[in-house]
Amino acid sequence: MTLLELSARDREGATATAVRPAWDSEPLRYLDEHGAPVEGGIRPTPDTLDPRTLLRGYRALRFARAFDTEATNLVMQGRLAVYPSCRGQEACEVAAVHALTEQDWLLPTYRDSAALVLRGIPAVDALTLLRGAWHCGYDPKQWRTMPQCTPLATQGPHAVGLGLAAKLSGDASVALCFFGDGATSEGDFHEACNSAAVYQAPVVFLVQNNQYAISVPLHKQTHATSLADKAIGYGMPGLRVDGNDLIALGAVLAEAVDRARAGGGPTLIEAVTYRLQAHTNADDAARYRQSAEVEYWKRRDPIERLGRYLTATGALDATVEAEIDEECERYCERMRTRFAEEPAYHPDEMFEHVFAEPTPQLLAQREMIRAEYGSGVEGAAK
């Protein structure tokens, strides 16, 4: 037998830290695509299955979808500079936010605007980056939510720092960090996971495997059958879960967050999902994927699945749906009005926060710009 087989045999001598990977092609799941409990699926704790909890989750899913749809409209109307939609991935956005308490930190990417509003950040502030109005529109400390990160995987080490800081401070807060599947190929992803494991920092790494990095499919991103397997190399738990199954996601995240909070260190979670829209409004997905594939995933829509389950269990009915419809409509209404008015921009802003105190050189440049434009409003009109 080959040495590979030999060491595979010895594999049985696995030690405690040796976490077994989740590379069965079927991820952890509770609901089948029709919203019925799948057999052989996970057995969530009672409170995960509490109808009130699930209904709250469903409302959040509907809300995220509504927000995402409205943002997509706004970008088409030219009210946003660009918008990366999370349509189809709402369960990940909701599960992540619902898994955290107010003192926990969330590290979102450009794709996770829905998570920001779910966290409570007003839509105009959440979309400031994508509107092109500023790089970040909310106070990260107030919301314990870092600015949306664009350089892929670079937020990973920030999560390690936040987690390590909490641990050293004796605080119970956890840092949950979003990544995309493509980002797992970046060096920063590796350095973050490895360091978090060494520090046993309270961090949850949540990879939304939506099958694509812009146009690049997963099989060109990794040769492994599961992104969760990377956890083994870091000596941390790794789980692969159905990213369109809010119940399974909730259970997996709860376990990971609890472990982190209890001092059990980081966890890597791969949520298998799908990006229903193009990468952004500027992308043309027809160049690299078949509509049949999209159709396949539409049939596994996270909202419909939970909706059917809740309807079947009687927790959801037409009246509640109507209620939710109305809430969402009111919210989007407000979004439209808020985005209709363009705020005033002033060139001084560029110089305000480069340093705590502007250098003499910056003050001189600010004077130059003021001399050119007088008030920024004219400048903006330019």
Partner: protein, 338 residues
């Protein structure tokens, strides 16, 4: 040599062509002529790149000649170095300026040094394509001008076209070069058209081009600020001020002779670039001009550059970017001095 390559040899009739298409043609022609030329990077295959610059190359030359890589810039750069050592001529794409940063260690510590390290035994003819600069309404990290970092690093050639012809010609030159070349593509000019018959050759790397002749002052620029300076010169001419516009095209090697020739005549120089001014490449230009043309200068060399702040959001970038007004203000200062 394949059919495609002989196509490349005979010049096509002049037709309106965008810079993006000219770059695409340069890649295609180079790949057709030399099967050691390979193109890779993020989304350069089926998608043809986020700017469509590599559009159709995979279809034309196959997955082995133009392919998508895993999302890892250091690895893209290092893989290119390894392939170049083996005998290939890799042309890699960094999707946006700021996304070349993760590859800096590979560039600074290996790409730039391999020839010197091995006393010339190993050359690494890699071309690194980097779309750079602002003015396209990009959110943060999508509008940086990072040429100053590379130009300060010995062992790298750094070039950037401002015209459709140069985009084609400089890229062909870069691919032919035995040295690593950082090829900065002014993304705001991607869609500018010109009537060009390909193939076209506009000169060797290291030679600047006078875009407009003038007598009163010299505007030294490159990439995206060349059209800005041309517009400024246009307006100045209406007031009787003749500005010479010198398009450097190549930052390394730098065409000192052309700069001295022009400034020696005009006695006034304004350096214009989009990159952050402080410690930027314009500082090198201003310092050289002030040192070498000391006795000819009638006014201080002034710089019109990006502000010393992080590149601002889309709603603010028109204040940040050097425009004709700002260039003309500098010209006024230079003309009224001395």
């Amino acid at each position: 040599m394949s059919a495609a390559s002989s196509d490349a040899a005979v010049s096509a009739p002049a037709a309106p062509l965008t810079m993006a298409k000219a770059i695409n043609a340069a890649l295609s022609d180079a790949m057709a002529e030399d099967d050691k030329v390979v193109v890779f990077g993020e989304d350069v295959g089926a998608l043809g790149g986020v700017f469509r610059v590599t559009d159709g190359l995979t279809a034309k030359f196959g997955e082995e000649r133009c392919f998508d890589t895993p999302l890892a810039e250091a690895s893209i750069m290092g893989t290119a170095i390894g392939m170049a050592v083996y005998g290939f001529k890799p042309v890699v794409e960094m999707q946006f300026d700021a996304f070349a940063y993760p590859a800096f260690e590979q560039v600074f510590s290996h790409l730039a040094k391999m020839r010197n390290r091995t006393r010339g035994a190993v050359s690494v003819p890699v071309v690194v394509r980097i779309p750079y600069g602002g003015g396209i309404g990009g959110v943060e990290h999508h509008s940086d001008s990072s040429e100053s970092y590379f130009a300060h690093t010995p062992g790298l050639h750094v070039v950037t076209p401002s015209t459709v012809e140069d985009a084609y010609s400089l890229l062909r030159e870069a691919i032919d070069s035995p040295d690593p070349v950082i090829f900065f593509e002014p993304k705001r000019l991607y869609w500018g058209k010109a009537n060009v018959a390909l193939p076209v050759h506009t000169g060797r790397i290291g030679t600047a081009a006078v875009r407009r002749q003038g007598t009163h002052a010299t505007l030294v620029c490159y990439g995206q600020t060349v059209p800005v300076c041309m517009a400024a010169a246009e307006r100045a001419a209406q007031e009787g001020i003749e500005l010479e516009v010198l398009d450097l095209r190549s930052l390394v090697p730098l065409d000192d002779a052309a700069i001295e020739r022009s400034v020696g005549r005009t006695g006034r120089a304004i350096v214009v670039h989009e990159s952050v001014g402080f410690g930027g490449f314009g500082a090198e230009l201003a310092a050289r001009i002030a040192e070498r043309c000391f006795y000819q200068l009638e006014a201080p060399v002034t710089r019109v550059a990006g502000l010393d702040v992080p590149f601002p959001p889309p709603k603010y970038e028109h204040w940040y970017l050097p425009d004709a007004d700002r260039v003309l203000d500098a010209v006024d200062r230079a003309m009224s001095a001395g």
